[in-house]
Every structure is written in structure tokens, then in C-alpha cells.
């Protein structure tokens, strides 16, 4: 059984961790502009935690949908790198002799 919706709990995100001079993070994969930079023209909005996570997860859902829309499957670059790193596979260098100077 669900514990239900608790207002205080929903409005208490994890303590922000600074990740750059201009951004902080709260939940994993959730980044926010440093609140000091949103004090005059655009004020930072308060979201309940469930909504913050919904927005973040929806973004991933959208990207997953777009992949399926354009191709049956996505080959990951790490798979290709692993193939290159197999013994003998990664030693071949691309012949650039025919290419113009970069």
C-alpha cells in the first residue's frame, strides 16, 4: 500500500550539489540553474519531486520513442569500440594518404 502524498516530503528535494559555476544537481540526472542566477528576470519555480522526476523521465521516454521511430535498433558506440579493441582489430589504421591535408 502506498504511503500517500506528503506535501513536505514532495517539496523537499535532495540537498543541491554544485556541479559547475552555474549549475547544481539534486536527483540523479536532474540539473538546475544556480538559484542565485534566477533572481531578477526569471524566478525559479518550485516543483514537487514527483513532477521534477516526471519531466526528467518523460525526456528519456521521448528520446527512446524517437530512436524507435527512425530505426529498428540503436547500435551503441561502446559496442563498436569493443569490436575495435579485440586482438588484431584495432591495429589497422585508416589509410589517409589519399586524403587532402586537413
Amino acid at each position: 500500500m502506498s504511503d500517500g502524498y506528503r506535501y513536505v516530503e514532495q517539496h523537499t528535494p535532495p540537498p543541491p550539489q554544485r556541479v559547475s559555476e552555474v549549475a547544481v544537481t539534486t536527483f540523479e540526472h536532474v540539473f538546475e540553474v544556480d538559484p542565485r542566477l534566477m533572481q531578477r528576470w526569471v524566478l525559479q519555480q518550485t516543483f514537487p519531486n514527483w513532477d521534477t522526476l516526471r519531466i526528467m523521465n518523460s525526456r528519456h521516454d521521448h528520446l527512446d520513442w524517437m530512436h524507435v521511430h527512425f530505426a529498428t535498433r540503436v547500435i551503441q558506440g561502446s559496442e563498436i569500440l569493443a569490436e575495435l579493441d579485440q586482438p588484431g582489430a584495432g591495429t589497422h589504421r585508416v589509410d589517409r594518404s589519399a586524403a587532402p591535408p586537413d
Binding site: 559547475s20 534566477m38 528576470w41 524517437m66 521511430h69 529498428t72 535498433r73 558506440g77 561502446s78 569490436e83
Partner: protein, 504 residues
């Protein structure tokens, strides 16, 4: 509004002879919704862009009937599809009738044997591809506005596709179409006889004349499109570099490699990386030594894409690239199909967040001229920003135009605080746009690869770009649109009419 209220009533009465009442829209909301495109403009002058009314035809014959009435009554006509273009093609500059084609969105035929489909031009590519996927097919015209732009607008713009290096751009993918001329006559254009023919040497190549005219030569209503197998596999590695020069060299090498499944490469410059590190969750955690980025994308069967991927990955490694990881690679590429959904804000020089709209200035630039154009474009935007916080440099991309790496869609993204665009700052921006276009031409480039070039500023240089070809444009316009009713005020085409245009 440019015609008097009495005349609007006369026009509405005439239109109701050929359309149902619900197809003729006159309310304030209906008109305001069809008066702008996403490109920032001085919003205090919004009223100057209002049409007098809008119509929603459902057939080619209805479009032709509306245009005949407009031509007879000397009322401007503005074709409008998705309204996503970035050079104001769908913006009414002199009131008149907006012809909104969104109800002409039927799929009339899917020809599985000849690999074509025939559609109403009001259909969106995403919705079309949902249906084509049921047959294992795709129509691979893929602009950054993919979820919201329409086939007809792509024709009117002669659009550019993200994956054009693999499948071609709109001009290559649209085989033929029905087209309503400014006098209301209906013609069919394509290669030779048109229809489902992909190559003909018969007669003039009229298809290209009626693409990219920004609605100044009429309205495409029904189009036959080339189809491909829906790709089995996609691979889109992103790589990081600690300097622009190596990333630039890598981009050129990837594009010149001649890999058959290669659909495109993108170069992100230092300003773009700095912008992303500031405001994009995927890049905020990236270390400081990530200063330029490159991505490549491949589509095809898995047994084609894997070896292609190994070849391009080796090329990237040879140029000092560091693979950025699967999550960014797959996620960022998927997001490129849908750039219009991005919520936008910029910063003042003091760092405060301000609401900003996105201006994307594009050009077609040869590979060897990319670094020089990049430097000069940034200098122009930097000069603007020194004078006012209305503008914010969001960096530059260079996207391959084709599969051989000859030239690149080169874009600088500029955040513009639209609500602060008064007449003085707007004029500052128009001068900057003229300067940006001038840099492109000085380097042998074209003012636009993708959007068209009929906005204030850039349009002033179109006669320079086309030379005597611009005089031919004027002759064609005058011959096909004797009363200057079709999207007047665009592309300096009023010069075709002496004395000045019949509709002013």
C-alpha cells in the same frame, strides 16, 4: 490589415461561395495565430503582420478557387503550412488571406512496388512515417522541426535534412507535385511528366523553380514522395576534443571517407560547447578540457552499419577524439530531430537568466572556409552583445550538406530577448544579419543552406548572391504573378513591378 473592413466583408462573401463557413476564419485569435513564425521579431510591431483572414481549404480545387478570387480582387495571399520556417516565408507583410493547408493532410496512396507515396501537402513527416512504418518504409526528410513542419512548407522552403548526406534533401525526395499558380491555374511539376518519375531530361526542370520560392510563386497542394526502407540500425557516436582544430580536421575526414551509410556529421565549436556546458544537462558535467565536439550518424542494415562504424571510429581516434559515451551519443542525436521543443533562456552579461527566443542564422559554406566564417560570425555577435544584453551567442554548428564533405550548413544560434527588441535594437540586429550574410558571400558561400534568405538584412544581399540571376527571378515573378498578390513583400520581388506593385 491592409484592406478596409468593407472590402474584407466583400472578400469573405466571395470566399463563402467556394468554401463552407467553417473554412473561413476571421476572429482575432485565428489571425494572430497565423501571423508569426518562431524566428524572433520586434513583438511591439506584431499588428503589422496580421492577415485580414485565414482559410482552410481541403482540396487543390478549393485552393485554386481562393487564389482566383484573390487575384481578381487584388488581395494578397500568404501560403502557410507548419509556420515553422525561420525566414518569415509564412508571415503576412501586407495583410490579406492566409491559406492554411493543414486540412490537406491525407495519404492518398502508398505504392509499395514503386516505393512512392502521394500525400496532401498539409501532412507532417512524423505522422506520415508512423503510417509508413507499418510497411517497413520511411520518408527520410528530417529537419530540426521534424515533429511540427509539413511537407508543403518543406517544398516552399526547399528544405535541408539532417540525414541528407544519406538520403538527399527535400528537393531530392519530392518527385512531383500539384501546384496552384498565383492566377489560380493548377499545374503539375516534376521531372518531365512528373508523377512517380525520378529522372527525366524532358523539358525545363520546373520542379526546382517551384521549390524554395517561400510562397511567392504559388502553393503546392499534393505531392508524390520517394520512400526508402526504414533503417534497421542507427549508430551516432559523439566524440570530444580539447581543441577546435582537431575537431574540424576530424569532421572533414569523416565526411570525405565515402562510407555508404554515412548520413551526416556535425561539428560543435568552442562557443557551442560552452553554451551546452552552461545549460544542457548532458554536457554540464563534462570536464573543462572538452572544448569541441563532433558526431557522425549512420543508418542502414546492421551488417552495413557496424563495419562503417568501425571505420569512422578509427578515423576519429586517429584525430585524437575521445568517445563521449553511449548515453550522450544516442540521446543527443535523438534530440536533434526535435530542436523546436527546447525551452529557451539566455543570460545577461552579469549571468542572470533572461527569457530568450532562438534565432538560427544559417549559410552554406565550403569546408575550407569554415574556420574563417566561424571566427567572423562570432565577432559580429560579440560586438552586438557588448552593446546590449538583448543578444547572447549560443555557439555554432557545422552540418554536412552531402556525402562528400564539400560544403556545410553553417549555423550560429543567437538568443534574443524578444520583448526588449525596440526599433533601435531591431535595426542593430538587421545590420548584423546583413554583415553575417556578407561574410558568407565573401567566402564564396550561399546566404542560406536551409531556411531561405528573405528576412530583413540578409535579403538585401540576395541580388549580390544571384547576380543577373536575380533579374531572371524578377522576370519569372512578373510573368507568373502579374498582380503581385502571392506573398508580396518577400525577396525584394516588388522590384518586378514598375510602377511599384499593384498590391502595396
Amino acid at each position: 490589415m491592409t484592406i478596409t473592413a468593407d472590402r474584407v466583408e466583400d472578400v469573405v462573401a466571395a470566399l463563402r461561395d467556394v468554401l463552407r463557413d467553417d473554412q473561413v476564419l476571421t476572429s482575432k485569435a485565428d489571425r494572430y495565430h497565423r501571423s508569426r513564425v518562431p524566428a524572433p521579431f520586434p513583438v511591439h510591431r506584431w499588428a503589422e503582420r496580421l492577415p485580414d483572414l485565414a482559410v482552410l481549404p481541403e482540396t487543390t480545387e478549393e485552393v485554386a478557387a481562393v487564389v482566383r478570387i484573390a487575384n481578381q480582387m487584388l488581395v494578397p495571399v500568404i501560403p502557410r503550412d507548419g509556420g515553422t520556417g525561420l525566414t518569415d516565408g509564412a508571415v503576412p507583410l501586407r495583410g490579406g488571406i492566409v491559406i492554411d493547408v493543414k486540412r490537406m493532410n491525407a495519404i492518398h496512396e502508398i505504392d509499395l512496388n514503386n516505393r512512392t507515396c502521394t500525400v496532401g501537402t498539409g501532412i507532417n513527416m512524423l505522422k506520415l512515417n508512423e503510417e509508413l512504418a507499418r510497411h517497413g518504409l520511411i520518408y527520410p526528410d528530417d529537419p530540426a522541426s521534424y515533429p511540427c513542419s509539413l511537407v508543403g512548407g518543406r517544398i516552399g522552403t526547399s528544405g535541408w535534412s539532417l540525414i541528407g548526406a544519406r538520403y538527399g534533401h527535400t528537393r531530392d525526395l519530392v518527385l512531383s507535385f500539384d501546384h496552384v499558380l498565383p492566377t489560380g491555374e493548377i499545374i503539375h511539376v516534376g521531372d518531365g511528366i512528373g508523377g512517380k518519375i525520378t529522372k527525366s531530361s524532358s523539358g525545363y526542370q520546373l520542379k526546382h523553380l517551384f521549390m524554395g520560392h517561400q510562397g511567392t510563386l504559388g502553393i503546392a497542394t499534393r505531392a508524390t514522395l520517394k520512400l526508402f526502407p526504414k533503417p534497421e540500425a542507427e549508430l551516432s557516436p559523439f566524440w570530444a576534443f580539447d581543441n577546435y582544430d582537431d575537431a574540424y580536421a576530424c569532421t572533414g575526414a569523416l565526411a570525405r571517407a565515402g562510407v555508404a551509410t554515412f548520413a551526416g556529421a556535425v561539428l560543435f565549436d568552442e562557443h557551442k560547447v560552452a553554451y551546452l556546458r552552461r545549460d544542457d544537462e548532458a554536457y554540464i558535467p563534462q570536464p573543462d578540457d572538452v572544448r569541441a565536439l563532433v558526431c557522425a550518424v549512420m543508418y542502414g542494415y546492421e551488417d552495413e552499419v557496424r563495419p562503417a562504424g568501425r571505420r569512422l571510429m578509427r578515423i576519429a581516434r586517429d584525430h585524437g577524439a575521445r568517445y563521449l559515451g553511449d548515453e550522450i551519443s544516442a540521446g543527443d542525436w535523438a534530440a536533434r530531430h526535435d530542436r523546436y521543443a527546447t525551452p529557451l533562456h539566455g543570460r545577461t552579461k552579469a549571468g542572470q537568466v533572461v527569457p530568450m527566443s532562438w534565432h538560427c542564422e544559417d549559410a552554406s559554406i565550403n569546408y575550407t572556409n569554415l574556420p574563417a566564417v566561424t571566427r567572423q560570425w562570432h565577432a559580429i555577435v560579440a560586438a552586438l552583445r557588448r552593446r546590449t544584453d538583448v543578444f547572447d551567442d549560443w555557439g555554432m554548428f557545422a552540418y554536412t550538406n552531402g556525402s562528400t564533405g564539400t560544403d556545410y550548413l553553417t549555423e550560429i544560434d543567437v538568443g534574443i530577448w524578444e520583448q526588449r527588441l525596440d526599433d533601435q535594437v531591431w535595426e542593430m540586429w538587421v545590420r548584423a544579419k546583413r554583415d553575417l550574410a556578407g561574410v558568407s558571400l565573401a567566402h564564396g558561400g550561399s546566404i542560406s543552406a536551409c531556411h531561405g534568405s528573405c528576412r530583413e538584412g540578409e535579403v538585401d544581399l540576395v541580388p549580390d548572391e544571384l547576380g543577373k540571376g536575380f533579374d531572371v527571378m524578377l522576370d519569372v515573378k512578373r510573368a507568373l504573378d502579374p498582380n503581385n498578390i502571392m506573398n508580396p513583400g518577400k525577396y525584394l520581388l516588388d522590384r518586378a513591378y514598375e510602377p511599384p506593385g499593384a498590391v502595396t
